[in-house]
Amino acid sequence: MGLQIKSLFKSYGARENKVTVLNNIDLNVEQGEMCVLIGPSGSGKSTLLNIIGGIDVADSGEVSINGQKIENMNEKSLTTYRRKHLGYVFQMYNLIPNLNLKENIEVGSYLSKDPLEYEELVELLGLKEHQYKMPNQLSGGQQQRTAIGRAIIKNPSILLCDEPTGALDYKTSKAILNLLEEVNIKYNTTIIIVTHNEAIKNMADRIVTLKDGKILKNYKNNKKISARDLEW
């Protein structure tokens, strides 16, 4: 099952201003795979991620998660789809400023009928001693961990990460990638990471390179290394 994408097209603008952002994308990501989408700015990575996440709409083509197609879904069904299947992590953490760390994670668990155990997750996130702090009392890394906690506590089948380390320093970035790897292994969560950082692809099961809206390369990574061994 997992994620299947067939003949996906997406463009912005009209007539002479029309820009094709995604051009005939075909992609399969298996359940539990960690997939990294890399490519230069404007290659269409974030747009592809947003279409998978059901927050942007393709012009044509098919996207299905665990056999459930999203292209014909209305607004309400798309919300249910996101609620049921997806977790989202962004470059900026977008935590709710007047909720503490624990409450921010509860924002995610509220959406699931079968959420992960909070105590176990907060241990995994390494945030137990900070759980009653407000976001402005946390470092960037701690805030991103909280955002990941918020995304995965609802036990999504796919975790979508848009530049999750884009605003973090090297050390904190590695810690975050390490956390994503642990989540991937522990909960068998499919993770799709959009990044500029070429080094991150080395921790992925699948590497997809995009350029000008087309898939340049799509292959299984046979030389996968652990996040803690990544260097850049």
């Binding site: 947003n50 996440g53 927050i55 942007d56 607004e75 309400k76 919300t79 249910t80 789809y81 996101r82 609620r83 049921k84 997806l86 977790g87 989202y88 962004f90 900026m92 977008n94 935590l95 709710i96 400023p97 007047n98 909720l99 409450e103 509860e106 924002v107 995610g108 668990s109 509220y110 959406l111 955002a147 918020r150 995304a151 609802k154 605003a167």
Partner: protein
């Protein structure tokens, strides 16, 4: 499970505690006042309706010039299916000292009534001895009498044994034709039979009647029953009126539904309630819009959080509910606390306002579920609907737009280039267009506040102007009305013919008397030269009924269906009166009376040589200025209350919306400070935009308010009041409103400016991504 994002609601309220406390207090006090008013109103109406049965209130009364004998009384009773009761009275002059009797201060003395219009004892006791009198409570209060005090009636000393309320004088109208009652100079009282016989004054032969057919008032006296009774009264009263004329000289016939002394207070109560409700909903709508603009601002500042929540699977409904929670909580708490105050504090305030205006019976508070629904459920619904409508328009945008922080609905929206303006002007124009929604609400709020301010400011000068108009336009110092022609030796008098007709009332126009004068062709008192068949109307009629030269006015006889039409040849400057003038020949022809007959005198000197029995009434300036006195007595404090409320509302609306504009732009303000702009330069950029809007709103809303209030005024006067009070607003009222508006603004601006100064430079740095 409780939605965890809602946990932040109380933290948000705590963070903006000043703003929310201001809104809470404003809503609580306002809802409390309205709730108290509605509860008191309903309780008063209930007591009033109940009184018809409890005190056996008459279905009508009539006055003959002579006493009728029992045989005639029986015939009238049988002819009309009524039971007649004697309700004779004597009018006496009142003084606090024997040598200081005020001839304008009249007390109408009755014997105790056991069967009809029974007396309600308010305090003290009924008079037992012949030197005791029980006074109407309101008249006594207005004249500062206390139980146990001495009072002189026609120079004879009495002791006040108690205060009472007459169900047939809940409003102290001396005559039913009076434009307004005057509870300062007219009251009613009770003495025992012995004392009554000893009073040396003309006795007036008034008879009250009660229907004797099955459907009479002894059935339940609820509102629908009262309406049913009124319908019956209207149907039967014409017939009774026609029958009464056969048995003697009817001086007055007043079916209950036309009796202002009985009906005026009851009619007024219901109307005030409706007006209060409309004001409540309008103000709650303004507050709801302020909440909505606040929520809208929060949505803009939290766009990326909302985008993330939507991406995680939160539905639009959940997000909208979350942002609506704060206004709804504040409204519900305000409504509940307001209702608690309503039932405890404000009910008494509202009741005292009624007791200050009317001579009402003792009342008991009745729980009013409708008032609770109106002040709690409906107000909350207004807040929910307005906030939902405003938020839904915003939240309906795609999650991706929130994540990008792009909440514009029109992607290619063109912005004016404004290249011919200076930087400062361009900046302010951008601020104005960015905050257009807030400024529209500010304009509406200022208009509404100005309507209240106008009411508060205008009533006093309107009454003064009314009084001046009366005195300046008096035909003569004395108008003496007599039963039959009688000569006087008083020099300078002028005879006139007079009759009273009635307008043709409907649901929107109260029945009122129109005075018809037949005067000399060239009168010394009325500045008109009247040819035969020429008809002039007073401009009081012209303005009230929107009539002009060439129009026709149709009137009817008061107690019959006979109608008269008058084609208007001109309008006479007599602004406060409802009068029609014609020459004597035209009058005699129209009303089939002798050309040489007369029944009144215009005179600038007091006429003292007429037979007292022949004098019906003498109108002097005291009679004509009673409206002013009564309205000032009953509404004096209300003017200040309305003004205070208007100023608070004005300041609150400006403060909240100007503060919102600052909050919305706090990042930019912070950045400008980093760039080196001083606080006062920042103020010029941001607050001057609000200042411009406030000043324009004040200047535009003042004349607008005049037209809005005038649009309400004419129909209100038509429905509620006999006569016409000219709506001439002195220019000083407008100047006062503008000055007060501007002062209030500057005080508010000082508070908002403090907020601008408090914005730290770090804010802009923290928010850079």
């Amino acid at each position: 499970m409780f939605n965890p994002i809602n946990k932040r609601v109380f933290r948000k309220i705590k963070h903006n505690i000043g703003k929310y406390i201001a809104l809470f207090l404003f809503m609580t006090l306002f809802i409390g006042f309205i709730s108290g008013f509605l509860v008191a109103d309903k309780s008063m109406i209930h007591t009033y309706m109940e009184s018809f049965h409890k005190y056996n209130v008459e279905n009508g009364n009539f006055t003959y010039s002579q006493k009728i004998n029992s045989k005639e009384k029986n015939i009238i009773e049988k002819e009309n299916n009524i039971k007649i009761y004697n309700l004779f009275y004597k009018d006496v002059c009142v003084g606090k000292k024997q040598n200081r009797i005020n001839k304008s201060n009249i007390l109408r003395i009755y014997k105790d009534r056991k069967k009809v219009n029974k007396i309600c004892m308010m305090s003290g006791e009924m008079p037992k001895n012949k030197n005791e009198v029980a006074l109407d409570r309101m008249y006594a209060t207005n004249n500062k009498f206390k139980v146990g005090d001495k009072i002189f009636l026609n120079k004879k000393e009495y002791k006040i044994s108690g205060f009472v309320a007459f169900p047939d004088y809940s409003t102290l109208f001396k005559e039913n034709s009076d434009m307004m009652f005057d509870a300062n100079l007219f009251g009613v009282g009770i003495v025992n039979s012995e004392a009554y016989e000893e009073i040396n004054s003309n006795e007036i032969y008034k008879y009250s009647y009660i229907y004797t057919y099955k459907n009479k008032t002894k059935t339940k006296n609820n509102l629908s029953n009262a309406i049913e009774n009124e319908v019956i009264e209207k149907k039967t009263s014409d017939k009774i009126g026609e029958n009464l004329v056969k048995h003697g000289n009817v001086q007055e016939y007043i079916p209950r539904y036309l009796n202002k002394a009985i009906k005026f207070a009851g009619d007024d109560m219901g109307k005030d309630g409706v007006m209060m409700e409309v004001i409540l909903y309008m103000i709650i709508a303004i507050i709801a819009f302020i909440f909505a603009v606040t929520a809208d601002n929060t949505v803009v500042s939290e766009a990326k959080v909302i985008g993330t929540l939507r991406a995680l699977g939160y539905s639009k409904k959940e997000i909208i509910s979350h942002y609506m929670l704060t206004p709804v909580i504040i409204t519900i708490i305000s409504a509940i606390v307001g209702n608690m105050f309503g039932y405890t504090v404000f009910e008494k305030v509202a009741a005292s306002m009624y007791y200050g205006s009317y001579s009402l019976l003792k009342y008991t508070t009745t729980l009013n579920a409708v008032a609770f629904i109106k002040t709690t459920i409906i107000t909350t619904m207004i807040v929910i609907i307005i906030n939902y409508f405003m938020l839904n328009r915003k939240i309906y945008l795609a999650p991706i737009k929130f994540l990008r922080g792009d909440l514009s609905k029109h992607k290619n929206k063109k912005h004016a280039k404004l290249k011919h303006f200076s930087f400062i002007t361009r900046f302010r124009i951008r601020i104005l267009s960015q905050n257009a929604k807030s400024y529209i609400i500010m304009f509406v709020g200022i208009c509404l506040a100005n309507v209240f301010l106008f009411f508060g400011f205008v009533l006093s000068p309107l009454l003064e102007n009314y009084q001046t108009s009366i005195l300046d336009n008096m035909i003569s110092k004395y108008q003496v009305y007599i039963n039959m022609p009688e000569e006087t030796k008083t020099p300078g008098v002028e005879k006139f013919m007079f009759t009273t007709l009635s307008n043709i009332p409907n649901d929107r126009i109260i029945q009122e008397d129109i005075s018809i004068y037949g005067i000399n062709k060239k009168s010394d008192y009325v500045n008109l030269t009247l040819d035969d068949d020429e008809i002039y109307i007073s401009d009081g009629i012209a303005k009230k009924y929107q009539l002009k030269k060439g129009d026709t006015i149709q009137l009817k006889e008061k107690y019959t269906k006979k109608k008269y039409s008058f084609k208007i040849d001109g309008i006479y400057n007599y602004p406060v009166s409802q009068s029609i003038f014609m020459n004597k020949a035209t009058f005699a022809n129209k009303f089939k009376v002798d050309k040489t007959s007369f029944n009144g005198y215009f005179s600038n000197k007091k006429i003292t040589d007429l037979n007292k029995q022949n004098v019906i009434t003498v109108i002097d300036k005291n009679d004509l200025t009673k409206v002013t006195r009564q309205l000032k007595t009953s509404m004096g404090d209300l003017f200040y209350l309305v003004d205070a409320f208007a100023v608070v509302m004005f300041a609150l609306v400006i403060y909240l919306l100007a503060k919102l504009s600052v909050e919305r732009n706090s990042n930019i303000i912070s950045m400008l400070k980093i760039l080196g702009y001083s606080n006062s330069e920042t103020k010029k950029l941001f607050l001057i935009a609000s200042r411009i809007v406030v000043f324009i709103s004040v200047f535009v809303s003042v004349p607008l308010t005049y037209y809005i209030v005038f649009a309400i005024y004419r129909p209100m006067i038509k429905k509620m009041m006999s006569g016409w009070m000219p709506f001439d607003v002195p220019i000083i009222v407008f100047v006062e409103m503008i000055v007060l508006g501007i002062i209030t603004y500057f005080l508010t601006e000082a508070v908002v400016y403090k907020k601008v100064r408090e914005i730290p430079m770090e804010l802009a740095l923290k928010n850079i991504e």
